[in-house]
Symmetry: C2
Subunit: 329 residues, 2 copies
């Protein structure tokens, strides 16, 4: 028996944000939709005294050779020490025997990739094919990766960005214009971004909703990926009520961690209009966008199935390229 160890640098060389990565994550949503995934609730270890949390996710996907176990840590006082707050790793166990196959010391890199890939999958499933103006709220790493991923699946020719700190938005615009080779413009308000864009991705840790119903117009698509905790909320409940097709990665998580929580608390979730899971749309079981006039919203909270899918992909890439250290047990 042997265990393969892959470092963050090796993984960055193996997995990048391209169509193969997006396609590698798609089976996670298909499996969730078709009952071919087993995904227990997230295990959360909260350490209030240290302003820290460790989340552990796992999922079995029928047909994939391994099962990933992912730990993500957020130690929010690390910045005082000059260290990044977020960290993490994935372990891959054989889906046949349970034996350890690999440790991916990715420090969260694969999570960044699978999260961006999910945004692209949501847009590919729900946005109008000709949608070409991107909009993004937030200026962090995911704000960058989401637009990069979006450009792989839709003919983006312009991007609008807004962030709480105008300087960060200006930096984002300069950097991304160079990286993507299309005009990127910093806006002074979230409203200006929403009113001008065809596809909007929200990537903020907002606790008070930003996106308002009256800013939306028919034909738009919004991917809300910022909220991953009960106290977070990017989309106003009235805006959730206003969209014509509400899609999410996992309905129970959208209620507990995502945008259905505040919308439901506000009493605007129409019990007649069931939320749709993204996998059902990807599989063609349920129609996502029905007409060019629909306003589609996809709420992504992140799933262990995505982690298993990207980790299996990374290990396959490592095998193909004969990369990584092998430890004989």
């Amino acid at each position: 028996m042997s265990v393969q160890i892959l470092t963050e640098n090796e993984l960055r060389g193996l997995v990048s944000l391209d169509l193969s990565t997006i396609d590698a994550v798609e089976p996670a949503f298909r499996a969730l939709a078709e009952g071919n995934a087993i995904q227990p609730p997230v295990l959360a270890l909260e350490i209030a005294d240290r302003n820290a949390e460790i989340d552990i996710k796992t999922a079995y996907i029928n047909g994939l050779p391994e099962i990933a176990i992912k730990a993500s840590s957020g130690f929010f006082d690390n910045s005082r020490r000059g260290l990044p707050s977020l960290s993490g790793f994935m372990a891959l166990l054989s889906a046949e025997t349970g034996q350890m196959k690999a440790i991916l010391l990715d420090n969260g890199y694969l999570t960044d990739m699978r999260t961006a890939a999910a945004g692209a999958l949501a847009a590919r499933a729900l946005a109008r094919k000709e949608a070409h103006v991107g909009g993004v709220l937030g200026t962090g790493l995911q704000a960058r990766l989401q637009m990069e991923a979006l450009k792989l699946v839709r003919p983006l020719d312009r991007i609008f960005v807004w962030g709480r700190r105008q300087n960060a938005a200006l930096e984002y615009a300069a950097e991304m214009q160079k990286r993507l080779g299309i005009p990127v413009e910093a806006c002074e308000s979230a409203e200006a971004v929403i009113r001008q864009a065809d596809i909007i991705v929200t990537t903020t840790p907002a606790r008070e909703p930003i996106v308002q119903a009256e800013w939306l117009r028919p034909g738009q698509h919004i991917t809300a990926m910022g909220s991953d905790a009960a106290y977070k909320n990017e989309i106003a409940p009235s805006a959730v009520a206003h969209v014509t097709r509400f899609v999410c990665d996992v309905i129970s998580q959208s209620y507990s961690l995502g945008e259905l929580g505040p919308a439901s608390a506000a009493g605007v979730v129409d019990p007649e209009r069931n939320p749709i899971e993204l996998g059902k749309v990807i599989c063609g079981h349920v129609q996502g966008r029905i007409s060019d006039h629909d306003i589609t919203l996809c709420d992504l909270t992140g799933t262990g199935a995505q982690d298993t899918a990207i980790a299996v992909h990374a290990l396959a890439c490592a095998h193909n390229q004969n990369c990584g250290l092998t430890i004989a047990e």
Copy 2:
């Protein structure tokens, strides 16, 4: 930043079943009793199609430098392939920063050690000091380790063993007599073991209770460590009712996975007589054995806190002996 990798062989060389290991596990129970541990419920991934389960445990112990995340897998069709059913590993994250410190590729070895250590801690806290006759139900690895651990804390001079397969009991007796240097006798019934022993450890995966109330006598101590699932049950509810001091590692787990479940279902748990947590006895907050006439029972279901304690101990040993492979990230 660097991550240390330790293999099972290295860990076997670093950690053995001795008083230092038992003492290293004790702080887990102290921390649980004193509110110095944060221990979320176990994350269980059950894969019925593969007759498999992966359990993930973790716990933070205030004052220890790392947090362990442990995955234990049981793939029960592995025997058909000539592979062991059980496997597992532990990851150690810094309790200060959340960053990865070490991966312990122990294949369950450290779990075996911390489980045996907990048995010794239970006996040290609850059995009469002069108790000298050991008894064990079951003939597997834990049946061996538990008696080895018990001999470190009580003056054992004789052991009785019973197993469903008489041959296995005879093999156990021959092997353990040699290993421990005291007479070990295989009995034809569980009753014969219970009636003759001062301290009994039950290590079976029984689904129907074995230990009956009428076999017990004043002064005995029983450690029940076999049951770790709702459908398992080693001690008859009437026997649980008959013991005078009921102790367990974690009350909620004893109800969900251990002996309090069946006893409670049978209606024999006296609501006036609260179960006692082992850590409270070890800390001296609650008296365990009050008199030589008490019959004490300690139900152990296994805790993430024990995992963190033994993993921290193993890593400290590795540092002291400059052992293991270091991967620069």
